[in-house]
Every structure is written in C-alpha cells, then in structure tokens.
C-alpha cells in the first residue's frame, strides 16, 4: 500500500500535526502522549511524524513556539493594564497550557535542543520582566535581580496548584516586597 491519505494539502500536514500535538500535550503532558497517539489523531502513520520532525522533542519545541507566540499576543493586548493584572493574566494563560512548562524543565536534561529553547525563552522573559520593573520605578541594577525573583515566584505558582485567591495574595506580596 503506502498510499498518501491526502495528496490534497501538501504543506498543511505539518501544521495539522502541530495543532494535534499541541492539544494532546496540553491536555495529557509529554510523557503521557505517545507519538503513535499524535499520529493517529493527525491521521498519519506513526513514523510519518519523523519526516517533519527530528524526534519527539522537536515536536515539543514546535508546540512551545505556538503556545508562546500566542501568549505574547495576549500580553500585547493587555498593554495598558497595571502590572499586577498582567502578571495574573499571564499566569492564568500559561496555566491553561497544562504541564507544558514542567515538561520543558524535565526534558531540558534529555535534549540539548529543548535546553537551548528553554535558555533562550528564559532570556526573553527576563528581558521583558526587567523592562517592566524599570518602567515601574525599580533601579536598573536591582531590576535584574528582582526580575529573577518575580519569575521564580511565577514559576513556583505554575508548578504548584493554588487557589485563585492564594495566588493573588502571593503575587501581591511579591510585588509589595519588590516595590517597598
């Protein structure tokens, strides 16, 4: 056999795989989503994915890029909101991508590519955070350190389940301490 199921959409196939992978990875996480499952959901043979992606981690990275660029769009939308509101919105946003961020941290040790993606992503987020803090009145040299504090607190909130109210309290406390 070896029959192309769809000679119709030649380049949409990759996108389709990414979209399906994104949904599955968000919902069930990296480890609980098999390549076979992604393939089945995309309507291709399991090994077909390997024509488009080097391996499973590269699928992850493609999904991460989608998630991040979508999150960035949302962030831009919120431009005139106060910092507190934006941070909380961002957390809610990232949280909707399930355990993806935890998965990234777990895969960093297995895959240099994921490692590279993570480092670059972290750099970008830090830059944004520094700009935010400077803009809000923190001294430029302190802003660097405070940005890390804020990011780690956000990561902590993402990694551990919290009630909405608790989450707000923690963010408020962090901002209070930074801006005291």
């Amino acid at each position: 056999m070896a029959r192309n199921k769809r000679h119709l959409e030649p380049k949409v196939k990759k996108e389709e795989i990414e979209l399906v992978a994104m949904a599955l990875l968000k919902e069930k996480g990296y480890d609980n989503t098999s390549m076979a499952e992604i393939a089945r959901s995309a309507g291709v043979a399991a090994n077909t994915i390997y024509w488009y992606f080097e391996n499973k981690d590269h699928v992850l990275i493609a999904v991460l890029n989608r998630v991040v660029s979508h999150a960035m769009e949302e962030v831009i939308t919120q431009r005139e909101q106060p910092l507190r509101t934006r941070v909380l919105k961002l957390i809610a946003q990232v949280e909707s991508s399930g355990s993806l961020m935890t998965d990234v941290h777990a895969r960093v040790r297995h895959s240099p590519k994921v490692q590279a993606w993570h480092d670059q992503f972290h750099g970008m987020v830090e830059q944004l955070a520094v700009a935010e803090l400077v803009n809000a009145g923190v001294g430029p040299d302190e802003a660097q350190l405070d940005a890390k504090l804020l990011i780690y607190v956000i990561e902590g909130l993402l990694a551990h389940p919290h009630k909405l109210q608790e989450r707000e309290q923690i963010i408020d406390q962090a901002l209070k301490r930074i801006f005291a």
Copy 2:
C-alpha cells in the same frame, strides 16, 4: 535455577537496593535510570526489585526520604549559623542530589504516591521556613506568604543553573526585599 544469590543478608538487600538507586538517580536522574540498571548494580534480577517496592516511583520515594533525612541532619548541624548561610548551604546540599527535585515535580502528575510525598514535603519545608522568618522578625501573617516567596526562589535556583556568585546575589536580594 532461581537461586538466591545471597541467603546471607536477608534484610540488608532492600537497603542495598535503595543505596544503589540513590547513587544512580542522583547521578543520572529518574528517566535515565532503568529498573534493570538498578537491579544489575544491586546484584539482583530486574524483577526482584518488585518484591521490595511496588514500582519505580516507590523506589524514588525511598530515595527521596533518604536524601531528605540526610539533608535535615545537615540543617540541624548549622543551627547557630545566620539565615543566609543556612539557605545557601541548603541549596548546595540539595543541588548535590542532582535533578532529583525536578524529577519529583515531573513524576507528581504520574503517581499519586509521589504527589502525596511532594505535598507533605512542601508542607514541612513551609513550616520550617515560616518558623525561620518569624524568628528573624517577620510578622506572623506575612511570614506565611514570604515563606512561599523564599521557597519558590530557592526552587528556581535549584531548577536553573547559576554561578555561585549569582546565586548568592539572588538570595541576598530576596532576603533584602523580605526584610526591608
């Protein structure tokens, strides 16, 4: 065949498995250490581990308990040191256990037992941190929140590589902001 390799030490076997597993998990992480490898290093058949442990996550938990109780002993030793010194020592200590803490976060979603272990551990650490902060002069209601901030910052430092100096700067900044 099915011959006991060692009828000599009947109860030390479990401890031996735990020690071997601890070394391997610290060095190579959860995912990169197979049950077969642990068994081989312990000098038993692969499935023998399942007589002592329900599954791989239970091996993890046994190892975590060893690591934590050892860390606690160290912490007690440092009783009269200033908070800053103790926090830095603690980080260095936990860091020497490799990616174990990241592994815990990754396994939390797969195993309810690991989840339970994590929650209980987090509760204990929070209690300790609150006591530390109150003792250092933070108001009791604020201490609860500040403890979380501090823990998340420490977790962030553990999850991401940092130069020693950078690490100290970040901890100093965190303590500075909390005690301002």
